[in-house]
Symmetry: D2
Subunit: 474 residues, 4 copies
């Protein structure tokens, strides 16, 4: 998949006891840029004061040197997000900074609460004033409204009410706090660099700041770091582990280690399994850059066919497409990718991608390969047909836009004009990952949702904030 | 006074049942631009949804045609403010839009609560989550947290807790709401245009949209407009009227009618009274544009001396001054004003201004007139010496920066290098206005403060939001 | 006239031997802002290198402190202009910087060459490459293409070919050069400040930098300043003096001394003469801010009627008007001006303006005064009916848009809905100025054009540069 | 090489007889973005008028939909360039639009004239007025100043004077003109799409607009397209072919066909030759994205070692680096690239890159691979040591910054801390390309310069234009 048809719902980063927390945080969220390209923010703490800088766009668009100089302090949290389509009032861009009886608090959140609508209604009834449509604010109101006596007890009180996927980092008082939901849908890891402690959505962000990965924040764990001491709290009852299988397929960086497994290696193995299960009589294997390339290499290795760079990225393309053609999505693909005719001309080509969402991208790719002279195009997908939306933190299209929810594989093949088409099955995907089935969430492929939204679609009734309507929950 | 040494703390505007509420509101707040040039915003309601557009800068800098097209609906409130020095997180720019159990609510506020710190601490204790340092948010938390059963009762409950100066306009449900504090510090008026109802800080804003002024919102009155019906509620106990006398002297537009009196006429009369009390042997009377010109004309009329335009504005100057000289404030005056030597050369000049704050502007003006050839310069001020700050909605400098708090009139004269200097007394000012003394607040001249801040300086302990620290209360 | 219906074609400024030439030049062109608000630029010379910063917009929009810091050097020229409506290729914004065999040359020009089309065709035929539609470039090509041996002789050679209105400042080598056409249509003066020499379109710009006015650059004089020495050269044959009478009426700043006369005093006298020639039975005299106010004061003095501020500017209005009404020009006036009903209600009002161009502004003003309660409105104009365009440096509308070219005074009065209307005659205007007739250019009132464009309308065949078509000649 | 240490000097594109020439041109120059990322522009012709839009930055930053709508017409030329570091006067951004006796002319140029200084001095002596430091303007002055009778003869006259590398596209009258220098240093091709004719620097740009490549513009050929007819003119004497070998190594897109050869295939072959000449005892082969990947794949194929993605791009990095470390260039590499420890940990790694310029990038890459766990790092470069600058259109650093000009291979290996280091020799590079030696320019590797600059360094005496000094020649 060459572009953001599926958009992750955020990445988080936090650091404490660092000489220049803002710059470390900047490098950290930049390494998480793939998890959210529509908004970015950093909050730092110096003494008792919090300072925030955030805005729509990518990390390097939001921050410059002056912005970082305006963020002094030894502790910071940062966030990247999808969902804010510009506009002058991007009230959902995180981190949030508020003042409660416990003083200033900053929070950043990756995930999606399935009981957000219920909790929101309940807190509103008690007098809560909401300034955004974000789930994150629900957590803050539960925290501020708790009748527990201590800060940590109020936080535990709030967290126990939550259902769904959430990885949260906070600055409260002199603490850096990180919490991961008991199902463990999304990744969250702890690292160190010298005296500094780091938390991040992915290990690659810790590598990017030249830190060392220490361990995962466990599902259901609340980590509190203060005065150089790390406290681990378990506020939740035990839940079955539900690690998102799609992080492996598409979202996580190839250089991250996820839930204990090397992502790049897993993707190569998916291609190997795919080759053994769905071979093709062909001359060359190409991947769709950049997500499909590791699986393409695996497919080549297992099949004995040569791997080559038959599709390349156009380095100069921004995110706005000014294509003259009516088929604008395809136009977008054509501006981003190009087929290398020296590789594919006259060849029977296996093209490997990580997933198909709407089908428009794949359709364009098949056509481009044929126009560049490919004799046959065999499409191989290193994940199962996606048949349902995600309720746990990935912003998938509605079900009726998912091509695999509307038609079976032969009809998809015909639609895409491929000579053959095959997907990995869920079983083969698990085999490639070497993971036991029950430990993963694969609801988007199987329909087997571990948790249901309490009031599905309730967010649609929330009024708009700003001329450009903000997106749904975090 | 030629510039913003004293800065008003905002103007508000609201309209309901209008065909294009955003554009009407735009024209309205543009006519209130003198009350706040550092931030502007409009919220409109269409059906149940609120949309907001706001940002730092002047009205025409914040809004363009696209912004107005993004604000559909038949009801709107708008706001102009001082106090936001730019930065990427101007969290204090109004109106605020929040969601409470009563649904989306928008609020804009002109004034300053003297018991804000107490109320803020109290609501935080009950679990309130604050997102700004603005007094306005206190009102929202009191409203959302009230245990009364109806929306209006919750609002009344909240308003009764407030002390200080406040003119508030709100959109709640299908209502446009306006409320003025029981002392009546700041102006607020009601108007009509066809079927539409309008509320505004000044009558000039109603004129600007070609509406008709109906009446003042009375001190202590809560006006609720819904379905074309206007309801008047009196939530407060009776308080002595404390109309700000400085609105007449400086702040209000000359074409407004304030507290029932014509502002321009009042300013001319101040000059007349000043001339009779403090005559000068001179050849010509000039005013400091544009605030001092009506009083200069009055001075000329009463003294029989000719009035002339001896100081003119430089039309092309922005708000940033890039003067090479070290005396930068004076440099600012020189870029904004110029003396007309054809008027003042060889003449004994009476120059009339509305007020002296720090003294730097007056000093520059006297020097400019002398350099342009004036033989004598007699400075006349159409208000009393300003000796104390305002706690009721005007952003005055600290007392130690007020020249009249540090020295007496003869020393000020010497400092400014004027041949003579005279101020109106409070009694003569009241005489000119034709107002009875007890009905006005003249604390900045007399030190007779009707209400004291509950915890003076408490806001200084609130942590900063954003790299550019937000200003104080609204 | 309240706005830019007539737009001057630029202001120029130059300084040499100054410690911070860029900042002096910034203050100087800012004081000339009224002569051109659509583009601004400064070129400085340091050693042999020239540096330029220019762009669309007003001086304070184009320059900030960083821009000035990027312009080191002890000599500078600057320019303000009308005519560039934004766009990414404002190729006509001045000063121009080019390289010729004489090294880098910078030039800024105020005026309009009547033989530009002929000279352009001639230089093109010899191989000249044009990069703009500006007359200024014609001068450069004549200079660069001259076969004379010395720099000054090449310049003289070029200047002798020019017909029309031109005030030019240049940096060539180590020289600051200023030249004024032999008819003297536009003003140009020389000043000093310490060791620095200054040239400027108006004396007010020299005052603004605290310099002293030395004298006019004479019509037909070429001034060359180098190494502290000032050389005066007379390249041209003698021509009859043709000082633009409209500079007095409208364009020049009131605090400038123009062609030896005080502008403000002249405008007051125009009002006095107007009152004696065209009295009105009325109660009060008001001026249209700010151009009409001096003449209104003169009218009041001569008639014995009281002067008052019956129209005031709205301080907060930018240059873009977002009025909901279809009558957009009138809407623009309503956003910029407001009537003070305390002054005009129930009164017979004389309203004085400096000129009428299209009539739309006057129409709006009469209507506003009536809506504010004026019983009668008597309009008095301190200049004659404008019946023809200017070919000498003022950007007037086409003749068919000039209301006085289309109808006589009684019909204009009816169109404007005034109770009476009178203009000054050309004779009375000259009387007010105290100038002998033959010395002035009054072609826009009389049709008596001293020079005709060689190929009228020829510039219309020049192709567009940039998406936003550049305006005509400088 | 992962970044722009070597920066190409531009790409050109032209189209005629197209329904929407601006959009076609936009897509074309976007596909040439790798040839110049610091400035972009398009000129269109509609009837006799030319319109231009250009500015600093990348294509998608300079153009939006509004900009394209402002460029009507059926013919267009476009340009991308390096060398403009921002600033308000980017006078060197192309295409240039000028007016000569032949009417409006637009020109865009890729290359570098070795006799520019001589030609510039000569034309200045004849009266030419230069507005930039660009070589392109020299061509225009020669053209405009020619005494030949016809447009084409004037152009031929001008072109015959030029020495060096130049690919030029022009709009003159109703013609689209393209010319390539007689040595053929830079690529230039002709294509068709329906009735439209296209010229472009690379075939990939023709593919990007779904056109068909027709043929190269021959070295020394002037192509004139008008009224659907294509005329080929040979203005120059025959010269030895000097096709830039570095286009193959680094600059051209992998999906382009260059001088008749498939670029991707050539790069794979370079890797194969490299493997055979310089084998390494290793476990895995990785390429430096994206330039080094084809050669890495070739190395893997020929050596039998597995290829893997051991270095990946960070997708979210902009062009400004805010790294905290003092070693900022290395910091830049770390922000752009990451090592995949799952691939390299415990392995002996062959890492293949296309070139080494300063050595800082390679140094950072070796260190990153070691930090990610690589046991050994063997660096292989698919081109010879670069020992000299390019005078024919590539913006190389000065010789003393080229690491291979300062030290031999063993010392470079030590500097980079690689376990082994090998470069391709010039002979092996030619073997890989299958090209005969005399037909290529390999001066940057061999010092064998086919043409010398007439006055080396002469451009350094040209004064600066604008605060941000413009870069050298095109």
């Amino acid at each position: 998949m060459s572009g953001p048809s599926l958009r992750h719902e955020c990445g988080v980063f936090g650091v404490i006891d660092d000489v220049d927390a803002a710059r470390t945080c900047f490098l950290g969220i930049q390494a998480l840029q793939h998890r959210g390209q529509e908004g970015a923010g950093i909050v730092t703490r110096e003494g008792d004061a919090l300072r925030v800088h955030k805005g729509p766009g990518r990390v390097h668009e939001v921050f410059d040197d002056g912005a970082l100089r305006g963020l002094p302090g030894s502790a910071a949290i940062g966030h990247v997000r999808y969902g804010t389509a510009g506009g002058s009032a991007p009230s959902n861009v995180q981190p949030f900074v508020v003042v409660t009886r416990d003083g200033p608090v900053a929070v950043a959140h990756n995930g999606n609460l399935t009981n957000a609508a219920v909790l929101r209604a309940e807190t509103e009834e008690r007098g809560a004033v909401y300034t955004s449509t974000s789930d994150t604010e629900v957590i803050l109101h539960l925290f501020a409204g708790s009748e527990q006596r201590t800060v940590i007890n109020r936080l535990v009180d709030a967290l126990r009410r939550l259902e769904g996927a959430f990885c949260v980092v906070m600055l409260i008082g002199q603490r850096l706090v990180a919490v991961r939901d008991p199902w463990g849908f999304r990744p969250l890891v702890v690292g160190r660099r010298g005296d500094a402690w780091i938390v991040a959505s992915e290990t690659a962000a810790i590598d990017a700041v030249r830190g060392e990965v220490v361990r995962e924040v466990e599902p259901g764990e609340l980590v509190v770091i203060e005065d150089g001491a790390v406290e681990s709290i378990r506020p939740f009852g035990r839940q079955p582990r539900k690690a998102c299988i799609f992080e492996y397929v598409y979202f996580a960086r190839p250089d991250s280690t996820l839930f204990g497994y090397d992502v790049y290696g897993a993707r190569v193995r998916m291609g190997e399994v795919l080759a053994r299960a769905f071979p093709a009589k062909a001359d060359v294997v190409v991947g769709v850059p950049s997500g499909g390339e590791p699986a393409a290499l695996g497919y080549a290795r297992a099949s004995g066919l040569p791997f080559a760079h038959g599709l390349v990225r156009n380095p100069g393309v921004g995110r706005t497409f000014l294509d003259p053609s009516a088929r604008s999505r395809e136009g977008g693909v054509r501006q981003k990718l190009a087929a290398v005719s020296g590789v594919v001309r006259g060849q029977r080509v296996v093209v490997v991608d990580d997933s198909i969402v709407r089908g428009t991208t794949s359709q364009a790719i098949v056509r481009m390969l044929r126009e560049a002279g490919a004799r046959e195009v065999h499409l191989r997908i290193s994940s199962p047909p996606m048949t349902g939306p995600c309720f746990y933190g990935i912003d998938t299209p509605d079900r009726d836009q998912l091509v695999a929810a509307r038609m079976d594989v032969p009809r998809i093949r015909a639609l895409l004009d491929a000579d053959s088409l095959a997907y990995l099955s869920v079983e083969l995907l698990r085999e490639a990952l070497g993971m036991a089935g029950p430990g993963t969430c694969d609801a988007c492929f199987t329909g087997d949702y571990p948790l249901q939204p309490a009031v599905p679609g309730a967010t649609a009734q929330v009024p708009l904030f700003g001329p450009a309507p903000g997106a749904g929950a975090e």
